[in-house]
């Protein structure tokens, strides 16, 4: 690794002033796991890194507010989230996804904020947060703003965050009763591989009819992508194999999978079809 300067501010406000909106060689650093990979490989050579680990703003919180919304602090580690009883109760699919997310040591160090702000399409939680209708709170020099999770990811390793903006928390809305959510991770090379295809689904059905459905795919696509047209077609449809198969087919046709070491575009399209179907079967099970 090439040498760099490390700053460790005590407050979020101070951290933001240390960031540089115009200099890509200055970046914030939380658990550092993803950035370290890029730095060790020489893909990122920072001049200055702003560590968030000393912030006293309490960004490690996990709580449920009076409206039943789950707040996850951006500096909560993925292990904190994995082990949280509140998360397990309120968003069990998040707990489930954390179990196979990277590995224990990475989860012990990597933070939720870093996991999202990295913009890597292979991350596991983004599609799930999309399907759960989550939103993110971002803080910058001019104050804070809310970003719908679906609007956070704008391209390959690109988010809608400014260079001097930081995520402070993620909020997962209170689910409607009887909502079921799941994340399906398909790995192509080994069991502990990055996903070749990730599919997240959340659905609610009553009397054999789908009341609401949210669907997102990742890893095969350049960014975690919600599929509103497929969701719309599912709403009001009867829970049956045909409904699910046509939704899976529509999902596969609605995205342009990227070919890489883990599969060709054509193969990934097929895998999106299969895993959207499997995810929908899971979330529409009575």
């Amino acid at each position: 690794m090439t040498p760099f300067e490390l700053q460790e501010p005590d407050t979020l406000a101070e951290a933001i002033t240390l960031l540089d909106p115009d200099d890509p060689a200055v970046r914030p650093l939380a658990g550092a796991t993803a950035l370290m990979l890029m730095m060790k490989a020489g893909l990122f050579q920072p001049t200055r890194l702003v560590s968030l680990r000393r912030l006293d703003d309490g960004l490690r919180h996990i709580f449920i507010d009076e409206r039943g919304e789950l707040h996850l602090g951006a500096l909560a580690t993925l292990s904190d989230i994995e082990r949280s009883a509140l998360v397990a109760e309120h968003a069990p699919a998040v707990t489930q996804a954390c179990h196979t997310l990277s590995n224990v040591r990475v989860r012990n160090v990597a933070t939720l904020g870093g996991h999202l702000a990295h913009g890597d399409p292979h991350m596991d939680l983004p599609p799930l947060l999309l399907a759960l209708g989550a939103r993110a709170r971002a803080v910058g020099p001019h104050g804070e703003r809310w970003i719908d999770a679906a609007d956070l990811f704008v391209g390959y390793y690109q988010t809608s965050l400014e260079r001097d903006e930081l995520l402070s928390e993620i909020v997962i809305p209170s689910p409607e009763p009887d909502t079921h959510a799941t994340y399906v991770k398909f790995t192509a090379l080994s069991a502990d591989d990055w996903p070749a295809v990730g599919v997240a689904a959340a659905a609610r059905h009553r009397d054999g009819v789908i009341v609401d459905a949210k669907l997102a795919v990742s890893a095969a696509t350049e960014r975690p992508t919600r599929l509103p047209a497929v969701e719309a077609a599912l709403r009001g449809a009867t829970v049956c194999a045909d409904t699910i198969e046509s939704a899976a087919e529509a999902a596969a046709r609605s995205v342009e999978p990227l070919a890489d070491l883990r599969g060709s575009s054509a193969y990934k399209r097929e895998m999106i079809r299969v895993h959207v179907r499997r995810a929908l079967v899971t979330v529409t099970r009575s």
Binding site: P3, F4, E5, M36, K40, N103, R105, V106
Partner: protein
């Protein structure tokens, strides 16, 4: 170039200081300043676990962990697990189950197993496999490692 800064931390129960640059990793500092070689870099990507160390009670990949972040922390390495005359039950189990060959990955597997058994004293095969999925053994000693985890769990139950 970047200036050195002094960090102070607890290393295997002893208060220590080290002079580190921001780009130094924990595994480098353990080796170069404390002559502790049980954590060692292999894949350089946090995937193989050869560089595992315990920081404030949680396992980390020493190759992806900035040494500067150890400031004020409690760091435990394989060398701090036991002395040669009184091995930890996990170490004993790795020997009795023949759970290593070349040994390069072994410290990492042993430390991860310690962590697992602290959190889950009686893990199933599936739980063991998931917990240890971030450690690689190119010698392919995995079946024996699973046996060793069970054997260590049984010993710890008796204690």
């Amino acid at each position: 170039m970047s200036a050195l800064r002094q960090i102070a931390f607890t290393l295997n129960g002893r208060a220590v200081t080290a002079d580190v640059a921001p780009h130094h990793t924990l595994v480098e500092v353990l080796q170069e300043q404390f002559a502790l070689y049980g954590a060692r870099e292999s894949c350089a990507q946090g995937l193989c676990g050869c560089c595992t160390a315990i920081v404030d009670g949680r396992a980390v990949s020493g190759c992806l962990y900035l040494a500067a972040f150890a400031d004020g922390a409690d760091v435990v390495t394989i060398e701090g697990l036991a002395d040669r005359n009184h091995l930890d039950p996990v170490q004993e189990a790795f020997i009795s189950c023949n759970a290593f060959q070349c040994g390069f990955c072994t410290s990492g597997f042993i430390l991860m197993t310690r962590q697992l058994l602290e959190q889950n004293p009686d893990p199933t095969d599936d739980e063991i496999r998931h917990y240890l999925s971030g450690n690689l053994c190119r010698c392919g000693t995995y079946p024996d490692i699973i046996n060793a985890v069970h054997a260590a769990a049984a010993t710890l139950h008796k204690e």
